[in-house]
């Protein structure tokens, strides 16, 4: 059947079972949007292309399916870049479509032209510029395949408007054959045996679990391995929810703001079994002093992750779940009372704590959210202090229910990602844990949320600061709060580390009024006793809710491994 490029676009997305896509039209996308009009595709009109990209990302993280977004040429396309980079760093399956100026104008600096395949090359797994309508169906098919297989990632497809209008015989490629792209899934049997043997022989092993375990749906196998061989488990930020939070083997998160006991276990381990994690610098601390006594087993689907930062003794390349299933056959049941008692010693020595006084401390809000929801909500975070407190005090019980921008650390990610996750999981309670800085980076999506009755709950821990940078300034730069105070104006004195004094500019916005102006519900609390009732009200309200908690302004995230220090040089208390 003869179809236009735009019709092929719609047909391919329907065949790829895309139930929802996020985006904004524009001049070079009018032909495609004309065919979306009245089609089965459910397009969510966002207010900014960055929002569309993060929504597709949140959709993908919460379901494991490919998230889809669409933006026009030039500025529409460049607005996607942060969202693509975020998804790329965290290995999230996404396909982004962009309109492009007609092929006859490419390279002419045409109106709204940008070389988006050139711009996004380093932040996508792969990208395409479709110059011939005959290639369109195959390219879309390949894009979904590449995005969702191997180590997932975002793929961008750039479609010039004349290609959208051109016609060709529509042929749906039943199979995807790319000779140069063949991910490895099955682990090498010899390597799996070696890894199992190393585990059996080890005395002080630690399982270091990363986002790959969520991608590969291997959390059940991780639990089996941990139980069978009695191995303590620490997770990265991206793997929160991959291990039961209340299990006695669980050490919480490791690294810069990880727990004291997770970091001590890593430094004293004789074997580290890394599964789907990539030895990111926030996890390893000072590389030369990382886990000095440990042999390292590394299971990962991406060969480039292996021995990139830390030399690995036993690499196993492939899918985590398939490898663990094989490996479990060779794992001997074992208990490790001495090692376990050392670990519980560290737990007792320095548990995760904060000051439980009458002040409204941000950790208390998160702990209360965790208690009220019993860890069964979908929690999405922005980036900064609140993100680390969420990782520390929210006990996610299931995979794909703790969504956070780990690799890129994108402020403004959380709210749109929460909208995407809520649309993918209409019955779930979806909570965006936010700071006042991050929320303001994508708050325009309040319109998208309210109009589409996406009832996400935005919890702003408002400390009137860009808190994480302020914390570094306090700890390492002599409390010189350069441009981290959100009261600050150009009229402020050059040095001021005490906002709230006489003459201090008033804080804006009024988040309650802001929420109301969009038709959302706005709530505010500044006292500890109000946290439970306000949260309960927010969670039971059938609308988008923005809750502002006025929290202790200079609360710090602890423990902390300073940049450049080894994991055991962790600061648990400030002098």
């Amino acid at each position: 059947m003869i179809k236009t490029g735009s019709e092929i676009f719609v047909e391919c997305l329907v065949r790829e079972k895309v139930d929802i896509l996020f985006g904004i039209p524009g001049g070079q996308l009018i032909p495609i949007f004309d065919k979306i009009y009245g089609s089965p595709l459910n397009l969510v009109l966002t207010r900014h292309e960055q929002g569309a990209a993060h929504m597709a990302d949140g959709y993908a993280r919460s379901t494991g399916k490919v998230g889809v977004c669409i933006a026009t040429s030039g500025p529409g396309a460049t607005n996607l870049v942060t969202g693509l980079a975020t998804a790329y760093m965290d290995s999230i399956p996404m396909v982004a479509f962009t309109g492009q100026v007609p092929t006859t104008l490419i390279g002419n600096d045409a109106f709204q032209e940008a070389d988006i395949t050139g711009i996004t090359r380093p932040v996508t797994k792969h990208n395409y510029l479709v110059k011939d309508v005959q290639d369109l169906a195959r390219v879309i098919r390949e894009a979904f395949h590449i995005a969702s297989t191997g180590r997932p990632g975002p793929v961008l497809v750039d479609i010039p408007s004349d290609v959208q209008r051109a016609s060709t015989e529509f042929v749906w490629p039943e199979k995807v054959e790319i000779r140069s792209y063949k991910p490895t899934y099955q682990g090498h049997p010899g390597q799996i045996k070696k890894a199992a043997q190393a585990i059996n022989e080890s005395e002080q092993p630690v399982l270091y679990v990363g986002g790959g375990v969520i991608t590969s749906n291997a959390s059940h196998e991780i639990l089996s391995l941990a139980k069978k061989a009695d191995i303590p488990v620490t997770t990265t930020l991206l793997a929160m929810g991959a291990f039961p939070p209340d299990d006695e083997l669980f050490l919480g998160m490791l690294g810069m703001h990880g727990t004291y006991y997770a970091n001590m276990a890593m430094q004293n381990a004789d074997l580290i079994i890394s599964v789907g994690s990539r030895f990111d610098d926030r996890c390893t601390g000072k590389v030369s002093a990382f886990a000095p006594k440990a042999k390292i087993v590394h299971i990962d689907i991406d060969p480039t992750s292996i021995s990139k930062n830390i030399p690995v003794h036993i690499p196993v390349v492939g899918d985590a779940k398939l490898i663990l299933i094989e490996m479990l056959k060779d794992i001997k049941e074992k208990t490790r009372p001495a090692w376990r008692s050392a670990v519980s010693g560290w737990k007792k020595e320095n548990p995760l704590e904060y000051e439980r006084d009458n002040k409204l401390r941000p950790q208390y809000v998160i702990e209360t959210i965790s208690n009220i929801t019993k860890g069964n909500a979908i929690v999405v975070t922005e980036v900064g202090q609140h993100q680390m407190w969420a990782a520390q005090f929210y006990k996610a019980t299931k995979p794909r229910t703790f969504l956070s921008s780990g690799g890129l650390g994108t402020m403004g990610f959380g709210f749109p990602a929460a909208i995407g996750a809520q649309m993918a999981n209409p019955g779930a309670l979806v909570i965006d844990i936010s700071g006042d800085g991050s929320f303001q980076m994508n708050l325009q999506e309040l319109a998208t949320a309210v109009l589409n009755k996406v009832n996400v709950k935005v919890i702003i821990l408002n400390n009137h600061y860009l808190g994480m940078v302020r914390q570094w300034q306090e700890m390492f730069y002599g409390k010189r709060y350069s441009a981290t105070c959100l009261h600050r104006t150009t009229k402020c004195p050059p040095e001021c580390s005490t906002p709230g004094q006489k003459g201090c500019p008033v804080y804006v916005p009024d988040f309650v009024a802001l929420a109301q102006s969009y038709g959302a519900v706005g709530l505010r609390a500044s006292e500890k006793k109000d946290v439970v009732p306000v949260l309960e009200k927010a969670f039971s309200t059938d609308n988008t809710v923005v809750v502002e908690f006025i929290v202790e302004k200079e609360e710090n995230v602890l423990p902390m491994v300073p940049a450049g220090a080894a994991l055991h040089e962790i600061i648990t208390k400030l002098a």
Binding site: P122, H126, S180, P303, T304, S307
Partner: protein, 157 residues
């Protein structure tokens, strides 16, 4: 350490840019890079000379393999192989020294491919060392221009 890597890639637009972007983004240094068609017109071969220790080389190879348009990466580190470089060198040559240049040219089994009243262009192929030695011999006459292809390589047998 200097390594020769041979990369078979899909002969599509943008592939060279992908490889160049990868090297730039990861901070790998390229000594030389040459691209050309292979016996299969849909496949191009790139020969890349990189410098770095074994760990860098391992990352370079893995990262190249990860690019979707790359079909195969061959590292000649432990493979017997031949390498060739071609250079065109324009050197000052007049009546007084032309015969001396001719003599050097024939010693190196290179060819003069253009002659003018004050210069000659010499074509030489060979290993990188041979070409370097040749250039050193010509330098005293005054090299006016030089163009090199960069190394291409192939496994023996």
């Amino acid at each position: 350490m200097r390594h020769a890597i041979s990369v078979l890639v899909e002969n599509k637009f943008g592939v060279l840019a992908r490889i160049a972007t990868l090297f730039a983004a990861r901070g790998f240094n390229i000594d030389s890079l040459s691209v050309g068609e292979t016996e299969d017109p849909e496949v191009s071969r790139m020969t890349i000379i990189v410098r770095g220790d074994d760990r860098i080389l391992e990352q370079v190879e893995k990262q190249l393999n990860k690019l979707v348009d790359i079909i195969k990466v061959l590292d000649f580190k432990s493979t017997r192989h031949v390498e060739r470089d071609l250079a065109l060198i324009k050197v000052n040559a007049d009546k007084t020294n032309r015969s001396e240049i001719l003599q050097i040219t024939s010693t190196f089994r290179s060819k003069i491919i253009d002659v003018s009243s004050d210069s000659v262009i010499i074509e030489i192929t060979g290993s990188e060392e041979k070409i370097e030695a040749f250039i050193n011999m010509l330098r005293p006459f005054g090299i006016k221009e030089m163009s090199r292809t960069g190394i291409i390589a192939m496994a023996r047998g």
